[in-house]
Point group: C2
Chain length 321, copies 2
């Protein structure tokens, strides 16, 4: 049985390497000209509910105490956040229309991210769990090589790398335990229009675990043991979808890190997906990190219970005609 | 408890009114130049596993014994299939690309369907359950008026009627118990981009039950009692998606008709969606009605059990950080 303080007592260390950013976002519900964002930030905040998280990524002179405070308030270790003197933090500006599934990028300024060479401290290298957020796949492999003792490594990527660095991306994928991509990217990467076939192909490349992110439709899990699908949490109001995928990944991998004594079973992965789904649902209810900053563990647990109720069905099969 | 022969003993009569057609379909996996199709046919075959089904729709001189035999083999009553002398049966030709979600209509010949005026026999009018497949909404209301004693009425429609007969469609929707549409159509009809909001609006119009069909992502249920989502059955090979939505509806409404003594609860509707999902998954594995024609009840029950396994997750919540 679980002890009430189990997550605090047994949690493993979890390192995430990826972008730390300022985002400008405009949606039909409002806009923000400059707010904390980036894959490593959204992932770290979500994972902080479960594990000791270390965030690794570069920032410029414009990244200050206010931003660090958001991460520190959730216990995220920022020792390996690299401040590049004279540099500017990665900046992304985008706009969503009424259909929040589609977004337009208005501006991308790489800033210090352009020359990012991940340098991990001994503490980060020693992490038990590692998440390679969406960065250039050569860099993902370099980071992975530095964390040679990690017991579980998951990664994200995007269509840009599938198109511009396909061979390197495949090499990176071969080495990880879990690949988490949008379903369209899984299809693009394997050139297989059928998602089940795409996931089978990708598992043959190396990863034991394939997670398809499906936006408003939720997510699907493909492992040797079978298939699992979970809907997104039903929301009447979505304010800003930015960071949903990274929050989902942070909740998922964080949950795994909180259960180091359990085998990486389908049962464990399913629960982890539910926690990731719950945290992602809060993430999109307000701009940027605003909602997750004041999110409580009880609220997360509540939505996981809701998701169980929203997906369960009984059956007493009788012979059909 | 269920008796083994319950479905046979207690099943209600179920009438479906809609198109009976010949389809020409081309997909990357092959093609058929002329095969039995149409919403009423796909619905009736799926529902035949659960209920006494009566199919209502017009056919021409080209509709012969071979086609009737497919329906009769599954026990579908065709007394109200109206043969229009000198007419031609509705013909639809379409092509699917590698992404089977999108299809192009190559040809539509309404034939006898153009002047269809549903004439229901006494037996069909007395049906307990009624499904108004996708036809002109004025006609749907005429049929509904003829079946004034039906205890449960469900309906489908399509974007064409939303655009060309919106007011009539809304009037039809106001009178039914359940509306089953693609999620994009639910959004279009209500002009609400958020599906939860769209479903809430539609329930305010009248129907107690809103079912969103989501193609490869499955389906979602919205009622006063809450939200339920079910993935599609994971298939490595989809040969022909034509008729999937009508097979799903046929399994769903058929299952309800097989449980007339149960209250129309969320629990019952969820099970019904699972049976609809299972039958639809078989429908798309071969062209047209080919697979469902030789489908057995045991196979349906097997996939419902698979779906339960593919959607269940346990949880033993502990306080998060």
């Amino acid at each position: 049985m679980y002890a009430p303080d189990r997550y605090a007592a047994a949690a493993m260390s979890l390192t995430v390497v990826g972008s730390i950013a300022f985002d400008a976002v405009k949606t039909p519900f409002g806009e923000r000209e400059r707010m904390l964002g980036g894959a490593a930030v959204h992932f770290a905040l979500a994972a902080s509910f479960f594990a000791d998280v270390r965030a690794v990524g570069p920032v410029g002179d414009d990244f200050g105490e206010e931003e660090y405070a958001v991460l520190h308030a959730k216990g995220v270790n920022t020792d390996d956040v690299e401040h590049v003197p004279g540099g500017k933090t990665f900046f992304w500006a985008g706009e969503y229309g009424w259909d929040l599934n589609d977004r337009v990028t208005l501006d991308t300024q790489l800033g210090v991210f352009a020359d990012f060479e991940p340098k991990l401290s001994e503490a980060s290298r020693a992490s038990d769990f590692l998440f390679l957020a969406n960065i250039q796949p050569d860099l993902q492999r370099e980071v992975h090589a530095q964390c040679s003792n990690a017991r579980f490594v998951a990664m994200d990527s995007m269509n840009f790398w599938i198109e511009s660095a396909r061979e390197s991306l495949i090499e990176t994928i071969r080495g990880v335990d879990a690949l988490m991509l949008n379903d369209a990217e899984l299809r693009q990467l394997t050139e297989k229009p059928n998602l089940v076939q795409a996931a089978r192909e990708l598992r043959a490349w190396g990863p034991r675990v394939i997670v398809a992110k499906q936006g408003e439709y939720g997510s699907a899990l493909f492992t040797e043991d079978g298939f699992f699908a979970l809907p997104a949490y039903p929301l009447e109001t979505v304010i800003d979808p930015t960071g949903a995928g990274d929050s989902f990944a942070g909740g998922l991998v964080g949950y795994l890190a909180a259960h180091p004594d359990e085998e990486l079973s389908n049962d464990l992965l399913r629960r982890a997906m539910a926690y990731g789904t719950a945290i992602a649902s809060y993430n999109v209810e307000e701009f940027g990190t605003e909602r997750v900053q004041r999110l409580t563990g009880d609220e997360v647990v509540g939505r996981v219970a809701d998701l169980r109720r929203a997906t369960a069905f009984a059956d007493a099969p009788v012979p059909l005609r």
